[in-house]
């Protein structure tokens, strides 16, 4: 029974989220036009889908989850594939949560510092740290591929396909300037 309750947690959370979103959608301000649906109709329909499905899943999991094959699944789920199932099983077995958390932290850190350090420097550091995090221990490969990759990115996105990327704040913007000077980018 505890297992059944545990499996309903995501759907209870979904239901709570639907309630919050309903309140937000209900607060959308507009001047009503007679005989015309309002701008809240569509979001409310989407919220209704979420709420109805959550209630359905909670009831199903609590009442009938134990019965064989009670879950309706997409057609592709029944495609006979031991290889796909095996891959999923292998993935579950080899789970490394600490790596995931470190990867998430690194990604968030990138977003925090990219404006200050500039795209080139922040990305260079990100590449190096991510490769170490991914288990590569060949230092030459890491530093060489990061340096070459970074210069290549700078060349492509600053010279060939111009994309507006953060230059960085002083003194870190000097790194971007140096690379641009090296590549004669004006």
């Amino acid at each position: 029974m505890a297992q059944r309750f545990r499996s309903t947690i995501p759907y209870f959370l979904g239901l709570a989220a639907a309630a919050v979103l309903y309140a937000l959608a209900d607060g959308i301000s507009y001047t009503a036009r007679p005989g015309q649906l309002g701008p809240d109709t569509w979001p409310l329909a989407a919220i209704a889908i979420i709420a109805v499905v959550c209630v359905y899943e909670i009831v199903r999991r609590l009442l009938v989850a134990g019965s064989v094959g009670s879950e309706v699944q997409g057609i592709a789920e029944h495609l006979d594939s031991d290889e796909l199932d095996a891959t999923a099983a292998e993935a579950k077995a080899g789970s490394r949560t600490y790596m995931l958390l470190a990867g998430m932290a690194l990604t968030l850190a990138y977003a925090v510092v990219v404006q200050k350090l500039g795209f080139l420097l922040a990305s260079y550091l990100f590449l190096i740290l991510f490769m170490y995090l991914g288990g590569i221990r060949n230092h030459v490969a890491i530093w060489a591929s990061s340096t070459i990759g970074m210069l290549l990115f700078a060349f492509i996105f600053l010279k060939v396909v111009y994309v507006s990327i953060p230059r960085g704040e002083p003194p870190f913007d000097q790194v971007t300037q140096l690379v641009m000077d090296l590549m004669q980018i004006r």
Partner: protein, 507 residues
């Protein structure tokens, strides 16, 4: 007909310009590499090259993305046959007979059949694509808002019913996608919805931000959690390709045609892509083929059926994108994004306003398929060598491409934060077995669905029966209902067959 041929001829000439030809070659090579690398999916690959297209000519950028899409359905077959590593889920049926054939010392034959299947399936599908797009676009000019809504509803229903995973979870994923799509300024009233006081959210959330996050960052995080543990690759002695003889090909002609047409038709259905085409085609051959009892033992039919169908699905998927402006798969959704970033809206009008571009894209599909097979024939050893490349290095660059992709869509760092957020959502969805495709298609098709629904309600005095009473929209809505019933019918059949199987088991 003559007009189509003349325009296609002009398309071939346009395709031969240095810029288009270069993009074609680059797209084919990158698509093959993406297909070979197990950590990189086809959709992810197409998303990652998107930032490179921002300052390109629109035709060259679509040629690049189309070429990647085509060759991405072929590259994974090499590793499936040689190493039993499917580069993409669509390659799984190919390995059942392909790898078995290779194990019997006939790897070159298996690779030869794959090449011919990709070539034949792709070309048949390209011909159908050229013939179908114009009539469908002309027909679609008669569509009003109820018809558009019905077609979008069909696309959403297909992605839910035909996908993997639980149907309720797919609905939740879709609901979330529709909600994300409704963030921003309402197109009819101009009122703000879920903007949380952030100015950038008033412009809505770009679906490319959602796609890059959910497919790119989400996938890399999931692989990182597994420690980038790819299967070790065995050393192989020979990677040559031996093409089948004309007599061998002639013997399989009908099966070839059947699989190619089936793949093309499946590609036409929004939500059903190359993977479903590959599995269904293999399944049809295993049930109705002449050598159905030998399927799985390493026979050419087991390779030709899935490969020709998956490559043929590309031509099919391009038809609704170009003729209706409705993407049916992740890869065509990215193409829609590339069109829109350049200010071009695909749909029934595109053949009237930009026929040169459309026929250049068509021509690039023909040329791309031929080029893909030439590269596959001569450079297979070099292509499978990329498997030696450490996944952590590839993934680090994938992440960086995702960052650039997000930042450059609107030149705003908020999009980077949003993309990372959607990366987290993508990871959680994958982790808890919620399908991602309905979320993404919900975000893409949501605005089209809402606009056509609201306009239909305004035009027809809030009479919702209009979707069912008009001939075209009524037919499509009936198809929506049938599509949504399919998983329930499948569940009923399973329930009936399980007790029968259980009772037939020896005690």
């Amino acid at each position: 007909m003559l007009d189509i041929l003349i325009q296609l001829g002009a398309g071939f000439i346009n395709c031969m310009t240095p810029a288009n030809l270069l993009m074609l070659v680059v797209g084919i090579v990158v698509g093959l590499l993406v297909g070979v690398l197990p950590g990189l999916t086809l959709v992810m690959g197409v998303i990652l090259v998107l930032p490179f297209t921002y300052s390109m000519d629109i035709t060259a950028s679509i040629v690049l993305l189309t070429a990647m899409y085509v060759s991405g359905t072929y590259g994974g077959a090499f590793t499936a046959i040689l190493f039993r590593i499917p580069g993409e889920p669509l390659d799984v049926p190919i390995l059942w007979d392909g790898y078995t054939m290779a194990q019997k010392g006939r790897a070159a034959d298996a690779l030869g059949w794959t090449l011919i299947a990709a070539l034949g399936g792709g070309l048949v599908s390209a011909v159908i694509m050229v013939l179908l797009t114009q009539p469908i676009a002309t027909f679609a000019l008669k569509f009003s808002t109820p018809e558009y809504f019905a077609i979008v509803a069909f696309g959403l229903a297909s992605v839910i019913a035909l996908g993997r995973g639980s149907l309720p979870n797919a609905f939740l994923s879709l609901g979330l996608g529709l909600l994300i799509a409704s963030v921003g300024t309402d197109p009819i009233y101009g009122s703000y919805r879920f903007t949380l006081g952030l100015p950038i959210l008033a412009d809505g959330i770009e679906f490319l931000v959602v796609m890059v996050g959910a497919y790119g960052v989400g996938e890399v995080l999931a692989r990182l959690e597994q420690g980038f543990a790819s299967k070790p690759v065995e050393k192989i002695d020979q990677t040559s390709t031996r093409l089948p003889s004309l007599r061998e090909l002639f013997a399989l002609r009908w099966m070839f045609l059947r699989s190619s047409i089936l793949g093309n038709v499946i590609g036409l259905v929004p939500g059903a892509g190359a993977t479903i085409a590959s599995f269904v085609s293999y399944g049809v051959e295993a049930q109705y083929g002449k050598r159905r009892k030998e399927m799985g033992t390493g026979i050419p039919e087991g390779i030709v059926a899935p490969q020709s169908a998956s490559t043929a699905s590309v031509g099919g998927a391009l038809v609704p994108l170009l003729a209706l402006g409705i993407p049916g798969s992740g890869a065509t959704a990215v193409m829609l994004g590339a069109f829109m970033l350049q200010g071009v809206q695909p749909g029934p009008q595109i053949l009237l306003t930009s026929s040169t571009m459309v026929y250049t894209i068509f021509a690039s599909v023909f040329l791309g398929i031929a080029l893909m097979c030439v590269l596959g024939f001569y450079f297979i050893r070099m292509l499978v060598k990329v498997l030696d490349f450490p996944e952590a290095i590839v993934s680090a660059f994938v992440m960086l491409m995702c960052f650039i992709g997000a930042m450059s869509i609107r030149n705003n760092l908020t999009d980077l934060w949003l993309m990372i957020g959607f990366g987290g959502i993508g990871y959680l969805l994958e982790r808890f077995r919620f399908p991602i495709a309905p979320l993404v298609l919900g975000v893409i098709l949501g605005p089209i669905a809402e606009e056509s629904f609201m306009n239909a309600m305004i035009s027809f005095d809030n009479d919702w029966t209009v979707f069912f009473t008009r001939p075209i929209s009524g037919t499509v809505m009936a198809a929506v209902i049938v599509t949504l019933l399919l998983p329930f019918l499948s569940l009923g059949r399973r329930r009936r067959s399980e007790p029968a199987e259980a009772s037939s088991q020896p005690r």
